[in-house]
Amino acid sequence: MTKEGKKSKATLQIEDAPGAAPVAEQPTSGGRRMTLNMGPQHPSTHGVLRVLLELDGETITSAKPEIGFLHTGIEKQFEVKKYQQGTPLTDRVDYLSNLTNNLGYALAVEKLLGLEIPPMAQWMRVMLCELSRISSHLTWLGTHALDIGAMSVYFYCFREREEIMKIFEMFSGQRMMTSYIRIGGLALEPPRGWHKVVSKAVEQLAKGIDEYFNLLSKNPIWCNRTKGIGVFPVDMMLDLGVTGPMVRAAGVKMDARKDFPHTSYDKFDFEVPTRTSNDVYGRFEVRMEEMRQSVRIVRQALGGMPSGAWQADAPHILLPDREKMKTQMESLIYHFKIVTEGFRVAENSVYQVVESPRGELGFYVVADGTPNPHRVFMRTPSFGNLQALGAMLQGQVIADSIAIMGSMDFVLGDVDR
């Protein structure tokens, strides 16, 4: 690539709308086009996303999303950290569903190591991931409704989300950056009295979800602004790399929890909700139904939580119990070795897929025999989904662009990494 061939990032020439169909000429403003910068500080982009819109009157003739403002080089940082030090980095990628990120990374490294995780840790992982799915969807619902103009939903959603945050704090000591799912099991023993707290919160959530659904689905303004908006052909969606609730609202039953079962998800009874309307309202319905299914999974986990160890039996990989470390020589040596040197992973590579609230989250971990990963690539759902934004906005009215962007539910930390 020569330097002259490279255009500046601020070029207003718009050519990056992969898959966009040509728009029919509409005589709205006598052919005068206006270029509008949406973001990087626009509130409805939920982060630092810049969208270059070319407008003909109220109609968007082309849209070019520009990303990279939040690029922090997390994938590069993985390469200088030891395997166990990578877990806190995964929290910071998709900061609304950090436990799912923890899970993806832990599963990938466990596959490389061939570790067997005890059933109690697996069920606990499932329960916490589903709670984090509910919390992520609640954040989405609140902010999406706020964008479209329904303000009170935001307060209700954040009130319920706070209960889930309290559960996370109880388990890990942290509200958001939990790092609770570690390589080989969990970070800490589950706290005393967790069962009571989680059951109480879940009952409240189950009631709340139905309430919010009625609050919006019977709201004529909400329905007018979402029904029939943002329809996009499903084959184009798949071609552009869209995953998660977006394709499920278009009738494609694709969910990594069912298709590639991990963490004993196959032992739980749940449905993958789909809709065929393929509009903003359909995506809303799918996410609401997903929350109900998550409540169902959490209830099953509460009812049948196995007892036993919460960490795998692998003294050379997992830090020993504090008490043992102080009394047993062998544990002290393992502790010293893990902290100073880390554990080595034989040369191999693995691609592990988990279902994040936003879609397919993949961790590609390449090991080279040293205690540091050679390469960690995160296939984040928001990046794949955002790629379709340019094509989706083309030909839409500018007021609808807010609803469409909201329905995609991207997190810019997840896009830029």
């Binding site: 690539m1 061939g5 490279k6 255009k7 500046s8 990032k9 050519e15 990056d16 992969p18 898959g19 990303i67 990279g68 690029h71 080089g73 994938e75 590069k76 940082q77 390469e79 200088v80 596959k111 798949l238 071609d239 552009l240 790399g241 494609v252 694709m254 298709d259 590639f260 191999n348 590579s349 693995v350 691609y351 592990q352 897929v353 397919e360 993949g362 590609y364 390449v366 050679h374 390469r375 690539f377 296939r379 990046f383 794949g384 790629q387 830029d416």
Partner: protein, 160 residues
């Protein structure tokens, strides 16, 4: 040449019968088949894989094996919804070697290939928009290369 471990995989067999010279190496990983393809035959093999049902290109990334040669591996993650199968296609590239863009086969390759170009400096021929995506347009160097220090070239913490 198909190694024994992948000899019974239907996808590997289909590629082997159609393009016998294409497969450099193959293995079966825990997440599915891994095919090492010669860079010259990447486009026809990918077209064939799409016909075989791999309708989604999930992601494209690269691995830098510096100072080994060939230095780079470009990895294509494929997914077939119909058959519920995942496959990785790997192309090994020497330094300064380029590879054909897959945008004409799967449009999702667009941003992923831009990202690989930006962070690794691997060029994709016939890419519709070969610009940087993560780093600023005037950035020098490609940060995910192994010879690029973690703190960049501007500061050195060793001199202090």
């Amino acid at each position: 040449m198909l190694p024994e471990i992948a000899a019974e995989n239907p996808t590997a067999l289909a590629v082997q019968t159609e393009y016998p010279e294409a497969i450099v190496d193959a293995k079966v990983a825990s997440d599915g088949l891994v095919l090492y393809i010669s860079p010259l035959l990447l486009t026809p093999v990918c077209r064939l894989l799409k016909e075989l049902g791999f309708d989604r290109l999930t992601a494209v990334t690269a691995v830098d094996w510096w100072p080994r040669s060939p230095r780079f591996e470009v990895v294509y993650f494929l997914h077939s919804i119909k058959n519920n199968v995942r496959t990785r296609v790997v192309v090994r590239l020497k330094e300064a070697e380029s590879v054909e863009s897959m945008c004409v086969i799967w449009r999702s390759a667009n941003w992923y290939e831009r990202e690989v170009f930006d962070l690794f400096g691997i060029e994709f021929r016939n890419h519709p928009n070969p610009e940087r995506i993560m780093m600023p347009a005037d950035w020098e160097g490609h940060p995910l290369r192994k010879d690029y220090p973690i703190h960049g070239f501007k500061y050195s913490y060793q001199d202090e």
